[in-house]
């Protein structure tokens, strides 16, 4: 039976079936135990509840300065896009018409469901010329500035590991889990 990916969240059944399949296999013991230091060195992901966020903080004001030196070349002076994608824009003021029309640009302000994702992504992949080079204070500052440009936080905002996960993004409630199941009904 295929076509219902959500069955892959029904882990106990699939786990039991896999262990049954592999029951005659030995414990191979290949690989070596990871040290806590090794794990910490590359365990960089940030979750919506703030899990993984480091100590540090950053302000809109500092973010504005960093943006001018690190981001403006690709994303434009106002964050509305340059050679690469737009980060800023709350249009349209009403609704979420991205399926009905191809005229609207998807941005952090009108589409991203979690502010923590912005921290995670800037930290791991930006700026493009030297990815992963920004220390926590810089990343917090840039997140604060991009959210400010999107009218999501006020100009005096300072973000840290406790305030960032508390931000509610405008598009948060728009996201739903996949409900396609195959079969004759097109969803």
């Amino acid at each position: 039976m295929h076509g219902q990916w959500r069955r892959f969240l029904d882990t106990p059944e699939l786990r039991a079936a896999a262990l049954e399949r592999m029951k005659d296999l030995p414990d191979f013991g290949f690989g070596r135990e990871a040290t806590a230091e090794e794990v910490a060195a590359i365990d960089i992901d940030i979750m919506p509840d703030g899990t993984g966020l480091p100590v540090g903080s950053g302000s809109v004001t500092r973010g504005q300065q960093l943006y001018a030196s690190q981001c403006v070349q690709c994303h434009g002076a106002d964050g509305r896009g340059g050679d690469y994608e737009a980060l800023v824009g709350r249009e349209p003021a009403e609704g979420f018409p991205f399926a009905e029309s191809v005229d609207h640009v998807v941005t952090v302000g009108n589409y991203w469901p979690y502010a923590t994702t912005l921290y995670d992504y800037i930290h791991r992949a930006m700026p493009q010329a030297v990815p992963g080079s920004l220390p926590p204070d810089d990343v917090y500052s840039l997140v604060a500035y991009v959210l400010y440009l999107n009218d999501i936080v006020p100009e005096n905002t300072v973000l840290d590991a406790s305030s960032l996960p508390a931000i509610e993004m405008p598009a948060r409630d728009r996201f739903v889990y996949d409900d396609r199941e195959g079969g004759t009904e097109l969803r």
């Binding site: 295929h2 013991g29 135990e33 590359i42 399926a99 009905e100 998807v106 991203w112 990815p131 195959g182």
Partner: protein
């Protein structure tokens, strides 16, 4: 050795050929005779191949100089892609050097001796595996397609008559993938029964990440290191990648460096702001892993033309992320009537399936369409049905019908039905 019968006996290609043959006959180290892109391959062809010794064997094969299939690079930058020339292929397997690419931070250069995969999180034994560790486990090989979920989007939004199958759907390819079942790795590290998701993380410049339901790992996911009988190509994740049969390309994380088991998803950029599908009614669908049922005729299509009336074989590929292709129908009248095509067996699950149908062209305008149905009963919608269900602005998973207008003069144009 007497030269005879070439168009230009002094061409560079001709000289290399002669040098190679001469060295071969003398038993010396052999140079390889092959044609450069800019050399006309006809120049090295004798009038009568039975009257001249050919080149000797070589260490590495090359295509005939007459065959020049090429990927189509859409954007020559680290976050760009390249498309498979579907119209140039036969059967179901994509030659590895023609497999499509879609990268997010370019192709990282990785020393296989220094490669390692960390598996941690909700496990009893956080473990580091080297490449040789991964290869030492019992292995498995499976034929599966891999497709970028953006495939077909441009053809829906901006259809043009001069689109080739490569431009329409070239972000899909099929390979035989070899690797270790991820379930075996989870068993080895003592994955917690409470784990529900895992993060897969790349070692490219985007350190790209996706959250995957852990049940897929227990079921049929693998860590692949082989492709079509050899190690993965660098553009396909060398030396090791995640492979998730039937699921959208982006979730099959290349250059895999880390797997972290968790009780919930991580909501990374690639599963929220990207690879989510806006839907009518103000929603966006996320974690849309399954690839919908699709098909495309690869001959006759633009830029080829039918060189006269009479019998032609309509050929193409069909595939679905939900198991096996059950049926492919062909219409030659733009979807008014349908007849079953022949499927090339064995039909593999979640794999390109070759279909064929003989057609007697009477020289009149015709519109060829293929329509695939998979084992769940799902079939391909018309453009109108697709747009009503998902919207013209939806961003991934475009499985609407594709068609080809045959004109009186035998030239062909792409169309949507």
């Amino acid at each position: 050795m007497k030269e005879k019968g070439t168009r230009n006996g002094h061409s560079a290609g001709r000289r290399r050929l002669i040098a190679g043959v001469a060295a071969g006959l003398g038993g010396a180290v052999v140079g390889q005779a092959h044609d450069d892109d800019d050399v006309d391959p006809r120049l090295s062809v004798p009038d009568d191949s039975t009257k001249l010794q050919g080149p000797p064997p070589s260490e590495l094969g090359a295509r005939s100089g007459f065959e020049k299939p090429r990927r189509l690079v859409s954007r020559p930058e680290p976050s760009g892609g390249s498309r498979t020339p579907l119209q140039d292929l036969s059967g179901i397997v994509t030659p590895s050097d023609l497999h499509f690419e879609r990268h997010h931070g370019g192709i990282p250069k990785i020393d296989p001796e220094r490669y390692s995969l960390l598996v941690h999180g909700m496990v009893e034994r956080p473990t580091v595996f080297s490449l040789s560790d991964l290869k030492r486990f019992p292995s498995t090989s499976k034929l599966h397609f891999l497709e970028c979920s953006g495939s077909g989007g441009a053809a829906l939004r901006e259809p043009r008559e001069d689109l080739s199958p490569q431009e329409v759907d070239g972000l899909t390819s099929t390979s035989e993938w070899t690797g270790v079942p991820l379930a075996l790795i989870l068993k080895e590290v003592g994955a917690s029964p409470e784990a529900r998701w895992f993060l897969a993380e790349s070692m490219d410049a985007a350190v790209m990440t996706r959250s995957i339901p852990v049940g897929k790992a227990w079921d049929d996911a693998m860590i692949a290191y082989g492709q079509n009988g050899e190690p993965l190509r660098p553009g396909n994740g060398y030396p090791a990648r995640l492979f998730l049969p039937g699921w959208e390309g982006n979730s099959n994380v290349k250059w895999l460096r880390r797997i972290e088991l968790s009780d919930r998803p991580f909501f990374t950029r690639e599963e929220t702001s990207k690879y989510s599908d806006p839907l009518p009614g103000g929603k966006s669908r996320m974690f849309s892993f399954d690839m919908d049922v699709k098909s495309i005729i690869t001959f006759p299509t633009f830029p080829n033309r039918l060189d006269g009336e009479g019998w032609w074989e309509i050929r193409g590929i069909a595939w679905t992320g939900r198991g096996k292709i059950a049926k492919v129908e062909i219409s030659t009248d733009g979807g008014k009537s349908w007849e079953d095509a022949e499927l090339q067996g064995p039909v593999h699950s979640m794999c390109h399936t070759r279909f064929r149908k003989l057609w007697n062209w009477r020289g009149r305008p015709a519109t060829l369409v293929s329509r695939a149905t998979d084992e769940t009963g799902a079939t391909q919608p018309t453009k109108q049905e697709f747009i009503e269900a998902r919207g013209i602005g939806t961003r991934y998973h475009f499985n609407n019908l594709r068609g080809w207008n045959i004109r009186r003069d035998g030239t062909i144009g792409f169309t949507l039905i």
